[in-house]
């Protein structure tokens, strides 16, 4: 490592102020700090600092996403071979799916990081690590058939309009990955909904076995065909059509365990989203005026993006509620709204994305009321004190 370090030290002056490649300073710093933790020492304030930084934090989230990603790759292959009625080994299926997903990840990262590098250079900041997670989340919430140019466009929209115009990482109101999905959802609905987009090759209609439908469980339910949905176990394991990373509740729960054990993801939000979803589902069960409402409440957890949204999207600390009490309300409302939109609104088979974006808007308001109650308490204490003194 010493020789690498020496090489970096040798070329470093070129990238500093006044150097030949001054314009690439942010890029250089970003890459350098990726390879080596900086030698910078504390200058004021606390002399020692915790070993954790945002890179570590984001790495934990990426590790937590890996089970969903790996299963997603396998499932892309599985669904493809099912659709053409062919048989293949597990590794073959995984490899097939992996090769389908890899371009999506590369496009998402290169477009997003490219914009981040430019923004950091303009602002004179260091590169923020936030996109490391966003860049992986975006492909995972897309249908596998999404054209690469659309993905690139959506990623650019998410980073520029969803984040940078608000002031960059830490300032955004909406979850950037969901902004990317919402952008495509409303701009190119044909590519984001329906029965064809979830399975590789289905849109082209090649060699499809007779009677095979690529409909997601949510689409079936929305059509009132609740009897046709796969078994609970299949949906829990995730061998069903859907966005790349969202199908396996099992893989997502492994990720949730990683987030909760490390303390990086708020368990309060995760738990309360599920609680809200369960509550709303049970309420529908109680009325059950149609077949969708009769669907057992816990089925909602394993269908569509509910679990993925609860674990990886709602827990975004920047766009979510920032007070601990607020997190309970925020998560609960996401759960409630998700199921409400799913069951009641026929135009949107999936409600999680809209529910989270909606609650992103309300998160500051929730925090406002929580903070106000603390302020009132303090003022009340002050009043009592003056009464005693006077």
């Amino acid at each position: 490592m010493n020789s690498l370090r020496k090489k970096i030290d040798k070329i470093k002056p070129n990238f500093q102020e006044g150097g030949k490649f001054e314009k690439l300073r942010s890029v250089f710093e970003g890459l350098e700090s990726f390879l080596f933790v900086s030698d910078r020492v504390t200058f004021k304030g606390s002399h020692v600092r915790d070993s954790i930084d945002l890179k570590r934090t984001m790495t934990v989230v990426i590790v937590a996403l890996l089970p969903a990603l790996l299963f997603g790759a396998y499932n892309v292959g599985l669904q493809h071979f099912r659709s053409i009625g062919a048989d293949a080994g597990i590794f073959h299926m995984f490899w097939f799916g992996f090769l389908k997903i890899l371009p999506l990840i590369i496009v998402s990262y290169s477009v997003g990081l490219g914009i981040e590098f430019i923004a950091a250079q303009i602002r004179g900041h260091e590169i923020n690590e936030g996109f490391l997670v966003t860049g992986l989340l975006i492909p995972l919430i897309m249908p596998v058939e999404i054209p690469l140019w659309m993905l690139a466009l959506a990623t650019a929209f998410a980073v520029i309009i969803g984040k940078e115009v608000f002031g960059g990482t830490g300032m955004n109101v909406f979850n950037p990955a969901l902004v990317a999905r919402a952008f495509l959802f409303f701009s190119y609905p044909a590519w984001m909904t329906g029965d064809k987009v979830w399975i590789e090759g289905l849109a082209k209609g090649q060699h499809v076995v007779d009677g095979f439908s690529g409909a997601t469980p949510l689409a079936l339910c929305a059509a009132g065909e609740t009897t046709k949905i796969p078994s609970f176990m299949d949906m829990f394991i995730g061998t069903i059509p859907g966005s790349i990373g969202e199908t396996s509740t099992l893989a997502i729960l492994i990720g949730a365990a990683i987030l909760i054990i490390t303390g990086i993801g708020s368990w309060k939000i995760i738990v309360s989203v599920f609680a809200g979803g369960l509550g709303m589902g049970l309420l529908f069960n109680a009325f059950s005026v149609n077949t969708y409402m009769e669907l057992p409440a816990y089925y909602h957890f394993v269908m569509g993006g509910f679990a993925f949204g609860a674990v990886f999207m709602a827990t975004d600390p920047v766009s979510g509620s920032q007070t601990e009490k607020g997190k309970w309300i925020y998560g609960f409302m996401i759960g409630v709204m998700s199921i409400l939109i799913r069951v009641i609104n026929p135009a949107y088979p999936e409600g999680v994305m809209l529910a989270i974006l909606l609650m992103n808007v309300f998160a500051p308001l929730i925090d406002y009321f929580i903070i106000q109650s603390s302020i009132k308490k303090r003022l009340k204490r002050a009043k009592i004190a003056t009464n005693i003194n006077s």
Binding site: L35, G45, H47, V48, R49
Partner: protein
């Protein structure tokens, strides 16, 4: 009946180098330094110039706004230099010690003195600055009468000195005398807060004229700000004074000996000290008087105070006015290949993202590396875990950054000081300079109120 408060929020940083309960004796040095920067919120004006002869107790500078607040020379000798920083900011006054002459302020019994007389004695002798106030954590205004006076009987900061050991080696009568003098300065109570964990020194347990309560929990349970918050919270317009435990002895000494003698016991700590132990010193003594021949080789940082709130003074620096501890740790000026990706068996963290959480460890050799770059606020719910107060730290910090005075007031700026938020700065994954932000907020409030 004493009140017992148990706190669960906070963090004891696992760092090695605690001082052994061993008093190595008294140390002296050729040079002594007094740092006006130890006293935030004041505008120091010099009374002396290089070459001037001073006695112990001679005024060397005073506050421009309240000129009655003077700061005294700890020893007799000659002023050798006045060190200034950016924009001619007064950084340090260095005195070369010779002789043992002192100014005689006269012996007195504080129990028969009036409030005015005691205030007067403390002011003219230069001992007044040991009395500080909340809000703002600055030297107290002599014109005020505080609603209470707080004395924390223990320190929970990293490698903190054991005050029980210090008190066992101090005079009980001086302590009693100091309390008697302080009692005259308030109409309210004197709160002495003891460590709820373990037994306290007899000097503290048997103290009279004080309201004893017990606090237990991780750092910052020993911080006076936390104790005030739980026992007698500060509202807008209220004032509480506080005094360091060993400064109570100094007050007692002023009346018993009739001279300015800011003597105390300090703990020499840190992983780079070969024999971490206790020393008897006078404030302003050279750090090197204790560390010479007692440190391990390497690039080291010499801190007057603890690793969270202390001041980096360098090898030739001096012990600060309020510090009962000197810490020496290694500098962290090295690059680490993929340091953020390693499992981290040897890395201490408040978070649970490093493998070191899995194995019990006595302590870590922590250095001054920042472990990352400065970023925007991203994570939430972290600061709350290390601030055992009914306060929203992040919202308060954001109010300070946006200079929203009313919001700062509403969110409890009067109840905090840098030291109470130091752990937030330690655990912050975005490496934000939180203590500087807090001081900026306090200075804004001082300006607003005057």
């Amino acid at each position: 009946m004493s009140l017992s408060v148990k706190l669960s929020k906070g963090l004891d940083i696992k760092i090695i180098g605690k001082a052994e309960r061993l008093l190595a004796g008294e140390v002296d040095s050729a040079l002594y330094g007094v740092r006006p920067v130890d006293f935030p919120g004041l505008i120091p004006k010099l009374n002396v110039k290089p070459g001037d002869r001073v006695s112990a107790g001679s005024p060397i500078f005073h506050d421009k706004i309240r000129p009655e607040i003077i700061f005294a020379s700890p020893v007799s000798g000659t002023v050798v230099s006045v060190i200034r920083g950016d924009r001619r900011k007064l950084m340090e006054i260095v005195i070369e010690k010779n002789g043992n002459d002192y100014i005689d302020f006269g012996i007195a019994d504080p129990s028969v003195l009036s409030r005015e007389k005691i205030r007067e004695s403390l002011l003219v002798s230069g001992l007044w600055p040991v009395v500080r106030q909340r809000p703002y954590h600055i030297v107290a205004n002599p014109q005020d009468v505080p609603k209470a006076i707080f004395i924390s009987g223990f320190d929970t900061s990293p490698l903190a000195p054991d005050y029980n050991f210090i008190m066992d080696n101090s005079s009980e009568s001086l302590f009693r005398r100091g309390i008697t003098a302080l009692k005259k300065l308030t109409d309210g109570k004197i709160n002495l807060v003891l460590n709820g964990k373990g037994d306290s020194s007899a000097v503290l347990k048997n103290a009279s004229d004080v309201e004893i309560s017990q606090f237990s929990g991780p750092h910052p349970a020993g911080n006076v700000g936390i104790q005030i918050h739980h026992l007698d919270p500060l509202n807008k317009g209220e004032i509480v004074w506080f005094v360091n435990l060993q400064d109570v002895l100094a007050i007692g000494r002023l009346f018993e000996e009739g001279r300015y003698n800011h003597e105390r016991i300090v703990a020499l700590t840190g992983s780079e000290i070969m024999h971490p132990q206790y020393y008897r010193i006078k404030s302003g003594v050279s750090v090197s008087s204790m560390t010479n021949g007692n440190v391990k080789p390497g690039n080291l940082r010499y801190i007057s105070g603890n690793v969270l709130t202390g001041t980096s003074v360098g090898q030739e620096g001096h012990v600060g006015f309020y510090d009962s501890q000197v810490t020496v740790i290694p500098e962290g000026d090295y690059f680490e290949f993929f340091g953020w990706m390693k499992p981290g068996l040897d890395k201490f963290s408040f978070s649970r993202t490093f493998a070191s959480k899995l194995i019990p460890s006595k302590g870590f050799r922590l250095d001054t590396n920042l472990h990352g770059g400065e970023r925007a606020f991203v994570m939430t719910g972290q600061y709350e875990k290390v601030v055992p107060m009914d306060i929203y730290p992040m919202q308060l910090l954001k109010a300070i950054l946006s200079e929203d005075i009313e919001m700062m007031e509403n969110l409890g700026i009067y109840e905090i000081a840098e030291e109470d938020f130091a752990l937030c700065e330690y655990i912050c994954p975005s490496k934000i300079e939180i203590q500087s932000i807090v001081r900026k907020g306090l200075e804004m409030m001082i300006k607003e109120m005057n």
